[in-house]
Symmetry: D3
Subunit: 241 residues, 6 copies
């Protein structure tokens, strides 16, 4: 059974990382994984939250959201519902943890960066696209801080690891890389993997959406995901050069 | 005193209306007034809210929002704060009223359209850009309904008036059209005007931000605004042809 | 077609401004426009909100609300719903802006005044009655501050403009002043105008409730509104003398 | 030690019950206990909440609230805070239970009455004034239903008991009836009592605000309260005749 | 008519007070009144809320809650509903007031204690069990403070009164002590009484659930309640020795 | 470096599963992993949520929460804060997904089960204890439904897989099973694994808390986790027999 867009099982969708898409933020990237389109902005503020003051450490946090009609049918706004949903919370926390793995918070010094990842159009893999794009936005924000001589450490030490993410899954019995929405909706197993540029793991989140999965399936999926993340790391390097 | 971008007092900023910017919605327009950039989507659902059932009339409503870093400094998300702010509410209501003036709800039949206007980048005039873009998105959504033969009336009767909006203001004593953020922030008087394609008024909202204004000033501002709206109506016609 | 209460098109309803209706507030006025009855109180606190500290400027803000059975059918309380509605927000903001136009915030010094406008009974024109009454309550609160020698400027400089408001509209094709509820519900055009005691504009908010309006109609409505506001300014002067 | 207003320990403050204070509600009473002033309205709706449908029984509920400047210092609005406070909840529930004791819900039939008790000015005893006034408003609403022949039972059976309430307390060691705010703030014991017109108890809520109280003190306070409630029942009868 | 569990009308259910049920809190008691089971914990923090700083006085507050399936049918969580209900608020306030009567806040010094009373299983009398158990937990927390020499006064002066609570009611015409759920649901009168170890009253809250009650009934219920509270005080003394 | 409680790296803490801890729920288990203590209840309701009606499928959902003083320092209640936090949401969703893997929703028929997992005392591994206990509570609830002949399928088909969970992590460079709080707080890598009774995976969630982890580390942790889950499955079998 061929993939809906004719890709090979171990191929990514076309990936683009457009830096400077917005003019106001210190870092701003429009990331596209096929038809999935996420605007990632990095906003710098001097100082850190109260509970962290005087620690000498910086802080990086993330907020993920979807426009109401990013998806095929319209969703109600969380602002109108008056509460952030569980899925949103969960993804925001994942992005924040992942990006904190890329940065040396001591070298950042007492500065804060908020990464806003707003899904403008969704076609599967929004959280992994967000992490991949947010890394580039965060890098630009750190460069901006370096230019203002506001970092505690040497600029080259601050972003000490690149971080990228991809989804993998078992669809129709076949392990596949970078699922789009239609594949994701029918996947038997769904795994989101966050890796460094050298192929180590930052996060592994696997779910048997329609049943369970064996150790062998998990191993095959991890292989696919690591290879995909290395490709994304290369794309990040190119975008930043 | 020249305008920051060298425009004449009665000139609009460059206006673009990009239809079909997103693939999911029934109508979708990225509208730009200079650096102001608003994504307007029109989402159709069959049927109407409970209080309107059986009336034979359709319903059109709007929701306006800003991405947290659309502006120069980051704003907290209303979803995280748990409540929609007064300014957001006010603008959403204005957009909804304005667009309902463009459509014959009886000819629409018992269908609902939600217009989502999300500001991706703000540089003054976001509400007027939103109205101008939402009109085009709504038009496309009605065309989509016509193609499915889901309208109660004849398609050419549904969108019975075009609607566009522009801000005008007195800056440094001079009446000016289509203020950008820097002008808006220093305006003595600020007027948002919604007009039809034939120059009639749908809404007029004027505020003496730093003082009061005379009947003469109001008249001059209304003249500027009507002319600006007629230019925008022309841009809408071109975009739709 | 005669008006429901037999008034001429350019006549206000009977207006009363009862000062000192409540004993606790620094200023307190029960304002009546016909059957519309709003309790306006002015509450003084020393100091200003944090973002304004050290500016030497005072602050005036307003909150508007309706008792649940001020209207013909009962509305749910916003406290019970857990959120303030869009209309309430919008009117509170309008009242605040309007009253800030009446006062020299520098002469007020770092004092804050909250204007609470609670509609005890509604029959159209609640927001315009609220502005008209709140001006008198604010005046009394400033007098109270003057008596305690707590103003930064000379008392006669603080309230530098009187402010009053009235609604006008086109009903059955006829421009009319100070609409009551039945007229408001059937008006084709509805305009709320806030003027100074010398007939300059503070706010103009016009809506084509059932269609659109021409420049000629707008001009006729503005004429009516200015004349009505001047009458209200006279009533304020009498009440304060 | 004399009472602040010179009353004898077993005397009520001047009590007024003004029926028909508002024009919209089916029942509406402005009740005053001295300077305490509460607007009680009774709003009738046909039918009952879902969980009660088909039971043949009616429903009566109450909501209590204070205007922000009903008190000596301004309180934030619960609508703005986004939640109803514990004290408000508690008093609303007390008023609802008390009034349900006055009415035969079977004879009322499947009709609902909401009693809104809004404190316009507070000087102690607001909850007891509210109960006393709400009884009269409820009575008028039942009369209104009777006139429309909408009751399930015979009108004279519906309001089967009159209900009134008063506060008593020990101040400076002395049991006193109907405390005003200054007395309430210094009371050692505070008791709110709801009685029928024949002196039976509906509710008794006593608190040792500053310590504890003996059986003897409780007995003395109950005696005072029953006598006070009988006087209030007489005032209700007069107001309704 | 015998009681469901065969008890005499003036008998308590079996009462157990298990100290140290949890390991983290400074005081922790699992209290059982028959099948009613409440976990009471006392959490100490140094310092007091801002409004009390510098007063030299400590602060004690309480929060009551039920697990969703403590009851026969599941209730929605208040955290999920986004608001604390009226009943919860009311009981939390009652527990807080009652426990503050047991402690000399001056001798406590500027320390705060939060009493959390979580109902693990409900069979009537949860608020009275909570008060009875919270007293023991508070006592243990004060002992913990004494051991750290953190009290302002002498340890033996801090807990200056023991406090316990019980419900009484008229069921099938008979005054009964310590109602279980089935009795509570059919009680004509329901009274919650909080007493000191010497039989003085802290709180008396009586409600005619299905009608009204006479002075004679009230007297009989108070007699039963005081006797029950004295028995509970004895159980507290035993648990603490 | 030895473990704080002297365990071997691949040993679980003592595990107890006490069925029938509460009397009201259809299934109720107090699960203990060492000092971690979670009350898991299963509440059955006939029917399913609206969006699932007529599907023939049942529904299982879960809610996780902590008592405020389950932890070493007190946390504010989410009900009082008015919103459920991100961590709570995330764990509730994990428990729900995990338990749905254990049950055949078609054989369950249109019945709903809510699994409430309330942490009474926390010492690491609360989410994995909750899943392990909730499986037993769900099993009992299904048995209860079977006894009432309310299942769509044959009872032995409904609970088609056992599900248990355990945490593993790298502490001081050593892979360890079932971390307690002190170990969890210092772990370099933290992995929560949900397995079936035959060692297949339901969920795998791994995080590099303080850095990243290699494929070799991940493999070692997965080995430990599967062995631990098989031991827990054995404990579940014993508890249910």
């Amino acid at each position: 059974m061929a993939r809906p867009d004719g890709r090979l099982p171990d191929h990514l969708r076309p990936v683009t990382l457009t830096r400077g898409w917005s003019t106001h933020p210190e870092g701003s990237v429009l990331v596209e994984f096929g038809a999935t389109r996420v605007l990632c902005t990095a906003s710098v503020t001097e100082g850190v939250p109260r509970w962290r003051k005087g620690s000498g450490l910086g802080w990086v946090t993330a907020e993920y959201a979807m426009l109401p009609r990013a998806t095929n049918t319209r969703s109600d706004r969380e602002s109108v519902k008056g509460r952030v949903g569980g899925r949103t919370h969960e993804i925001s926390r994942l992005i924040g943890r992942s990006l904190r793995a890329s940065i040396d918070l001591k070298a950042l010094g007492e500065n804060s960066v908020v990464l806003d990842c707003d899904v403008l159009q969704a076609d599967g893999g929004t959280r992994t696209a967000a992490i991949t794009g947010a890394y580039v936005a965060l890098y630009d924000a750190v460069t901006w801080l370096a230019a203002r001589r506001s970092l505690a450490g040497r600029p080259e030490n601050v972003m000490h690891r690149s971080v990228a993410a991809v989804s993998v899954g078992v669809v129709a019995g076949e392990p596949r890389l970078d699922l789009n929405y239609d594949e994701d909706a029918t996947a038997e197993v769904d795994l989101n993997v966050v890796c460094t540029g050298t192929g180590d793991f930052v996060e592994v989140q696997g779910t048997g959406e329609a049943g369970v999965f064996s150790r062998g399936q998990l191993d095959a999926l991890l292989d696919l995901a690591v290879a995909g993340c290395l490709d994304l790391a290369e794309a990040q390097r190119k975008a930043l050069s």
